[in-house]
Point group: C2
Chain length 194, copies 2
DNA sequence: CCGTTCAGATACTATCGGTATCTGAGTATG
DNA sequence: CATACTCAGATACCGATAGTATCTGAACGG
């Protein structure tokens, strides 16, 4: 196996372990040393694959986003009519919102951005991509339901993303939060803006 | 001046300085040493007034919540009809959401809760109080507007709080986020749930 | 082969939250 | 009023951790 291959393998393994630990304990509470050791390496391996903790976490977030987007798209393509899609999405939200605590990691890491221009720009870039993807999904769904002209897809996307972040944050602290709110609000939003 | 008075003064001064610094730089990036020195004391003063960084931050959050609640209540009592109130609230949101970055501090601190049962319980307690207060406000407003039976105040409160947290978080990173979304969504929610 | 490169290990530094100990001004008591 | 006590706050220290500097040995090119 070539040296480049081995390094790529190391990198992936580090991201994998870091993802578990960041999600379980949060960003600040996870030390690079522990990540490295648990992945079977030393801290040096981390610093020769990433510029530091921030870049490692960014890679972890990318990996999480990928999973999450797959889940959302699957929920939306399962059914074909508006209500069925919203229901499928609600089911996804019930499972995926707040429990694996990815929103908590997301917002904790977001706080770093105040100190780091790198994190700030990278995070904003990703948020805009995600918002655009949601807007596209909304556009598609409302067009097929024949109500595209009554919904502002960009505003709806911002509202839905915010709602998801907020609910996920609350729920990662307080498990009694009712996630049905998400689907209900979504239904109201998609049924026409004003 | 008695010793107890001096200590109370010291405590208030520490909270005041900590509030500025936590809001400006975030929880993790603010060191107790710097807070103490900037307040004109040594780190010992912090530890003789608070059990540690967590309790200090909790006191800061309480101070912030007080300000915030005052703002919301003022917005709601200024006008008397539904649309006027929503407009006043929207104006408050434009000013108070995401810019002084209190939501960012709130959620960054929330991440600590995974490691600290104290933070977890205290934070959940406060979130429930806030949600109850919002629900009460919703109940009042919808009753006066004669639409109380079409709105679930508790669900609306959860949605509004989540939306506020989410929008504030996004906006503290990305200033181009449109906060009008908040008022628009609120209007939709208050005009009837299903 | 053999010198170079570089992924990853090892050793070290700086910073920060927290603890232990100290000190001197304020307090209670005779 | 004098003396002993208390405790807010200062000082000195410890352990953990992100980041840096240096080293090493195995994979490459020539």
């Amino acid at each position: 196996m070539s040296r480049a291959d081995r390094q790529a393998q190391t990198r992936e393994r580090l991201i994998e372990v870091a993802r578990e630990m960041f999600l379980a304990d949060g960003y600040a509470a996870t030390s690079l040393d522990k990540v490295a050791v648990r992945a079977g390496f030393s801290k040096g391996a981390v610093y020769s694959n990433f510029s530091g903790k921030e870049e490692l976490c960014m890679a972890v977030l990318d990996s999480i986003h990928e999973t999450q987007i797959q889940g959302v798209v699957a929920a939306f393509t399962l059914d074909t009519d508006l209500d069925g899609r919203i229901e499928a999405f609600a089911a996804w939200a019930r499972e995926g919102l707040g429990r694996p605590r990815w929103t908590a990691l997301e917002v904790e890491f977001g706080a770093i951005a105040r100190q780091s221009p790198y994190v700030a720009t990278e995070l904003v870039k990703r948020h805009r991509e995600i918002r655009a993807a949601i807007a596209q999904l909304v556009r598609q769904v409302t067009t097929e339901a024949g109500i595209a002209d009554t919904v502002d897809a960009d505003q709806a996307a911002t509202a839905l993303l915010s709602l998801g972040i907020g609910l996920g944050t609350l729920r990662s602290l307080d498990h009694t939060i009712d996630v049905a709110v998400f689907a209900d609000t979504m239904r109201v939003l998609l049924r026409g803006w004003r």
